[in-house]
């Protein structure tokens, strides 16, 4: 079979791969986006939907601030508003120590324009009376918010298609070769795709492609547990999280509250379910944080398959072993907001010869041991 030639092949139609394809297509590149399932049907489409900068490590804030701008122009990029709302993000502290760490975070990130507002107990009660007494204080980031991931993520792929990208769904990558100049991808639809650039944006399933080119990474999969309530009167005026982890929640315009917390388990390599314990924990404990949920009912639970690296930072940027290979994966449950900027940075590597923001912190080589150490281990 004659290979189809492109400038770049993107593996994975999540929000990172789809936005990379979009930026490349807009930059005039011929792009093929190969998605094993449906675009935006895994982590990118079934995550909580938080669009927040608050709480991210400093290393991510430059990219996250750039993503903040892309989100503000969402309709121009993808043609829909995706229920994106800048509700603000409220991070709650359940103890004085937790409040102190929120204060410390605000100081550390002062160079970025997050506009964090620290609220003590009285200010919190006054501004957000629907928050339970268990919270002793909070940090509020007014321009963070939330959006509907099951609409936004597939829309990035649709937008890429409108700009000329060849988006192929239900098409798994079976083998990849490099002949010194170009990659040839053998796809499950029987087609061969050939290009000098290959983007590994396969989410929790990215390790195989990295390993294929000699860059083994300790990527593991985990499965955040989520549930949604029936529509309730509107009360939750901000998306919320808890310092130190725990239950996070937001309310959509229709009235449904979406809550996450705890972990699920893998059913198959590509499907996951929230565990019973996680669901019961949310149902039992959420009312302490959000008393208005008392008497409400959960109508559905779900989970997804998300990639995590040991330091909870993603890998974004060029391969160190294979020219033309770019990685973008391992977003540790926090890729939705930053995804479009990560996709753009990968596209810039091709379009501009390098990213506009340093990707040094996300370099894949941080997991590669020098050769002599490897020998010692074996």
């Amino acid at each position: 079979m004659k290979p189809l030639d492109y400038d770049a092949i993107v593996v994975g139609g999540g929000i990172v791969g789809s936005s990379a394809a979009l930026f490349l297509a807009r930059g005039g590149q011929r792009v093929a986006l190969l998605e094993r399932d449906f675009c935006g049907s895994h982590s990118s489409g079934v995550n909580y939907g938080g669009v927040r900068r608050q709480g991210r490590p400093l290393s991510q804030l430059p990219l996250s601030m750039r993503a903040h701008v892309i989100w503000s122009q969402l309709r121009e990029w993808i043609g829909i508003d995706g229920e994106y709302t800048r509700s603000g993000h409220l991070k709650l502290a359940r103890s004085d120590a937790d409040f102190a760490s929120l204060q410390a975070y605000a100081r550390r990130t002062a160079d970025f324009d997050l506009q964090l507002q620290l609220l003590d107990r009285a200010a919190l009660r006054e501004r957000f009376p629907w928050v339970g007494d268990i919270a002793v204080g909070a940090s509020y980031c007014p321009e963070d918010g939330h959006a509907n991931p099951r609409l936004v993520s597939p829309a990035f792929a649709q937008a890429a298609r409108r700009h000329g990208a060849e988006v192929v769904e239900q098409c798994a990558v079976q083998a990849v070769e490099h002949d010194g100049q170009r990659f040839t991808v053998h796809a499950s639809n029987g087609q061969l795709y050939r290009a000098p650039w290959l983007l590994n944006c396969a989410g929790a399933w990215s390790a195989r492609l990295a390993e294929r080119f000699g860059e083994a990474v300790p990527l593991s999969a985990a499965h955040p547990a989520m549930l949604v309530t029936e529509p309730l009167p509107l009360f939750m005026t901000a998306s919320t999280g808890v310092e130190g982890g725990g239950i996070y929640a937001r309310q959509v315009a229709r009235g449904n509250c979406i809550l996450g917390g705890g972990r699920g388990f893998a059913l198959t390599p590509t499907t996951a379910r929230p565990g019973q314990a996680a669901v019961l924990e949310i149902l039992r404990n959420a009312t302490e944080l959000y008393p208005a949920l008392t008497g409400a009912q959960a109508i559905r639970t779900w989970s997804g398959t998300e990639g995590y690296l040991p330091d909870d930072e993603p890998v974004i940027g060029p391969s160190h072993t294979q020219l033309g290979l770019l990685h973008g994966f391992g977003f540790a449950g926090a890729g939705f907001q930053i995804g479009p900027a990560a996709g753009e940075a990968l596209a810039q590597c091709i379009l501009d010869g390098g990213p506009a923001h340093s990707l040094a912190a996300f370099c894949i080589s941080r997991f590669q041991q020098p050769p002599h150490q490897k020998e010692n281990l074996s």
Binding site: Q276, L283, R284, L293, A296, A298, I299, R300, T301
Partner: protein, 452 residues
């Protein structure tokens, strides 16, 4: 400790429990309802005093036999009423007792007898107060002794249509009309299949002929146009032989046969296959009811619509299969006899499907404004928009437009949504996938108690 568990205490679940008990196995029988019998033989509240003949008509003897069986089993089984199974994983079931107390139950083997609900094909006005499903209209009568209205129209298709009409009229409720979407010619064509079960057929025929004799008009081959009304149903409009007709009424019961409740089989990991007869995805099972998962057995209408008599047979067969798999001696002759009777019943079921054919024109003719998903208020037009945007897999369409995302989780609207998607995408209905089962099977409250 791991138990042998039966989910559902209708005809299938009770016969399964009886069979296990007779072989010295003490199962846990989980019943979502407060009293056993399932929907078809639902019992009235304990302090109600209507007799079985009034409640169940021709089926009184069967209903009483089943209830008696359950009460005689009290010592030999662990019967747990008011217990919803809201989630299932390998070796463990998650339960909710009396809507308030969550618990877990480890199982070594489980028989799923989860029953069925009505299949609803929406017509304009179907979300008005005063509109019920046929099954709900029947339950109102059996359980509470209530009719759904004072001038009731029963509409749709399926054997339940005539049975409910008969039961309502017998109970003294006023049935204004029966509107059957299947043509009389279809019922004539179905005769050979139906005569496989002469007794059942005779009953059906009896209901069908009794109604006009009592002055209840029966219209066949109708196309339902609209349930009229503002605050509640006040009339119904239909087309028959090219002529539009209408009738005032204050309540409508509407359904097109039954659909299996398969979420638990799905959560338990059972393989599914498209079943053309049921026009639905059903969990795969062997003739005795073994699913694709070694410890999971399937029985009753939840595994495929066969009716109450069939449910008793498949319940007993599944229990016999389970006993065999435990290494117990079972009566092979009894099993073979059941299998033979079941095969006969299957042929009757084919006849029923011929007599009450699915209205295949429905999806093409459903107006864009018609609400398909009442929980999320999603119209046929919105479902079609999602299909036109390139989506054809039902879970994807759900993700795009919210159809099936509400309180019922697609149990009410799923069948109709699938028809619209198939029609609009031009794909055969078996190729658009099936709605994934997601816990909870029914609503779960915040602030629930947890059993230790």
């Amino acid at each position: 400790m791991s138990e042998i568990v039966i989910i559902g205490a209708g005809p299938a679940g009770i016969r399964a429990a009886q069979t296990l008990a007779a072989h010295g196995v003490k199962p846990v029988l989980l019943d979502e309802a407060g009293r056993g019998g399932g929907q078809i033989y639902r019992q009235q509240p304990a302090n109600f005093t209507r007799n079985a003949k009034i409640l169940y008509g021709f089926e009184a003897a069967k209903a009483q036999a089943l209830h008696t069986t359950l009460s005689n089993l009290q010592e030999q089984i662990d019967y747990r009423p008011d217990t919803l199974v809201w989630n299932a994983e390998q070796q463990v079931l998650d339960t909710l007792h009396q809507g308030q107390r969550a618990g877990r139950l480890n199982y070594s083997r489980v028989i799923v007898a989860s029953g069925a609900t009505d299949r609803v094909l929406p017509v304009p006005g179907w979300t008005l107060p005063g509109v019920y499903t046929l099954g709900a209209a029947q339950i109102a009568l059996k359980f509470q002794g209530c009719a759904i209205g004072e001038k009731v129209v029963l509409a749709g298709s399926g054997p339940l249509l005539y049975l409910v009409a008969y039961q309502y009229a017998k109970a003294g409720a006023r049935v204004s009309a029966v509107l059957d979407t299947s043509p009389f010619s279809a019922q004539v064509r179905a005769l050979p299949g139906l005569l496989r079960q002469p007794a059942t057929f005779a009953k059906g025929l009896y209901y069908r002929t009794w109604l006009p004799l009592k002055g209840i008009p029966v219209h066949q081959g109708v196309k339902l146009l609209e349930i009229q009304g503002h605050q509640r149903a006040s009339g119904i409009r239909w087309l028959q032989a090219g002529r539009e007709q209408q009738l005032p009424c204050d309540a409508v019961a509407l359904a097109h046969a039954l659909r299996s409740e398969t979420q638990l089989a799905d959560l338990l990991g059972c393989q599914f296959a498209w079943n053309p007869l049921n026009r639905a995805w059903l969990p795969v099972r062997d003739p005795q009811g073994r699913s694709s998962v070694p410890q999971v057995y399937l029985a009753g209408d939840g595994a495929g619509i066969l009716g109450a008599d069939g449910a008793e047979m498949t319940g007993e067969l599944a229990a016999l299969a389970l006993l065999q798999d435990l290494g117990k001696q079972v009566d092979g002759a009894r099993r073979d006899q059941l299998l033979k009777r079941l095969a006969n019943l299957q042929r009757f079921r084919h006849g029923l499907e011929q007599a009450f054919p699915f209205p295949e024109y429905w999806a093409a003719e459903a107006a864009d404004e018609l609400v398909v998903c009442r929980c999320e208020q999603i119209t046929a037009g919105e479902v079609r928009d999602a299909v036109r945007a390139g989506h054809w897999e039902i879970n994807r369409v759900k993700a795009m437009c919210r159809v099936g995302m509400g309180r019922c989780q697609g149990r009410v609207c799923g069948a109709a949504a699938a028809e619209i998607i198939a029609c609009e995408s031009g794909r055969p209905i078996e190729q658009i996938g099936r709605l994934r089962g997601q816990a909870p099977v029914k609503l779960l409250p915040f602030g629930l108690e947890i059993s230790s």
